[in-house]
């Protein structure tokens, strides 16, 4: 790594810490430096974005509870905040792996009713694009939550109980959405 390229990467990372994405620096890295450096810059960007959106989602979920809104709606909105920027986007496997690993790392920091739905979009995209899901996702989610994520991939539907309602995550191919419904009584299941 040349000193100049190292300096570009350092400046890019410093800007990220200030919540600034310096696209010109990224372009310069791409055009002048070794591909591995661009990769490191993109990895840092993926980490920043994943943690940023999960943080936003958590503040929304927590704030909604404080404001007296129904937690199921707040939770579904929080899941959409984490999915939002990536919904419909096509990402290369490396970026998808980074995003899912860092999102899982960020999700594990907070007390959610369930963690796996927040990761659902990334694993669906990985499956559709035939990418591998990094081990870090399972490590951060825990074995039980990861098993529920795998079951969702398989069945195309997964349910989380939030207060008196059910938040259902439904998949149809690479499309994915959330439905909130009243909790079913045991005799209805």
């Amino acid at each position: 790594m040349s000193a100049a390229c190292g300096e570009l990467l350092r400046r890019f990372a410093a800007a990220l810490e200030r919540d600034v994405i310096d696209w010109e620096l990224l372009d310069e890295l791409k055009s002048k430096c070794d591909a591995s450096l661009t990769r490191r810059a993109l990895n840092a960007l993926a980490k920043k974005l994943a943690h940023y959106f999960v943080s936003k989602a958590w503040m929304h979920y927590r704030g909604a509870a404080l404001a007296g809104r129904h937690p199921s709606v707040a939770y579904a909105e929080a899941v959409y905040i984490v999915w939002g920027p990536w919904n419909g986007a096509v990402a290369p496997c490396e970026l998808l792996a980074d995003l899912s690993a860092y999102s899982a790392e960020a999700v594990a920091k907070y007390a959610w009713p369930a963690r796996w739905p927040l990761l659902a979009l990334f694993v669906v995209a990985a499956k559709e694009e035939e990418c591998e899901i990094p081990d870090a996702v399972a490590e951060h989610l825990g074995s039980d939550e990861y098993a529920r994520l795998e079951a969702f991939l398989e069945d195309g539907v997964g349910v989380v109980e939030v207060a008196d309602r059910e938040v259902a995550v439904v998949r149809e191919g690479h499309y994915i959405r959330i439905i909130i419904r009243p909790r079913r009584r045991r005799d209805q299941i």
């Binding site: 936003k56 503040m59 929304h60």
Partner: protein
Amino acid sequence: MTCRELLQQFVTTLERDEPDWVLLRKLMRKCGAFGVEALKAMAKKAVQIAASKAWAVYRGALIAERDPAIAYGQAVHFVWHVGDWYGLPCSVLAEMAVYVAEAAVKYSWPARWPFLIPAAVAAEVNGCELPDSVAEALGADEYARLEAFLELGEAVAEVAPGVKVAFVRDGRYVSVVV
């Protein structure tokens, strides 16, 4: 024209809501401390405009019988976005915080302290201090609530009986939820 005269001229254009950017650049380039004074005047004007617009939105929404929580949340957002709080040096951050506090007390808000959240969080994260005049302008009770929010990372403002707006902090990020 002297730097003092340039500054006076710039302030006059600000008062007419027509800031003269060429003049500001000239002041910044040639006049040192006068340039800083011009920036402060600019910041003060920006805060006053944001607070005035925020109040108009809030008051208008109440008159139009819209949800007071949404209206108040929007008003707070207006003032929050007046500056890049983390990018400010401590001295300018302190000045901006005072302007926000002064602007907040001009109007009859359900709570004043939430307007100061980004300034207070940025001050804490950047290792700056907020001047005493912020507490003086807000009043002891409202300032105590701001401090409690900084400490706990979450708080609620009741904007009407039973209608709550929540404020949540996660490190350097803050959010308002209605």
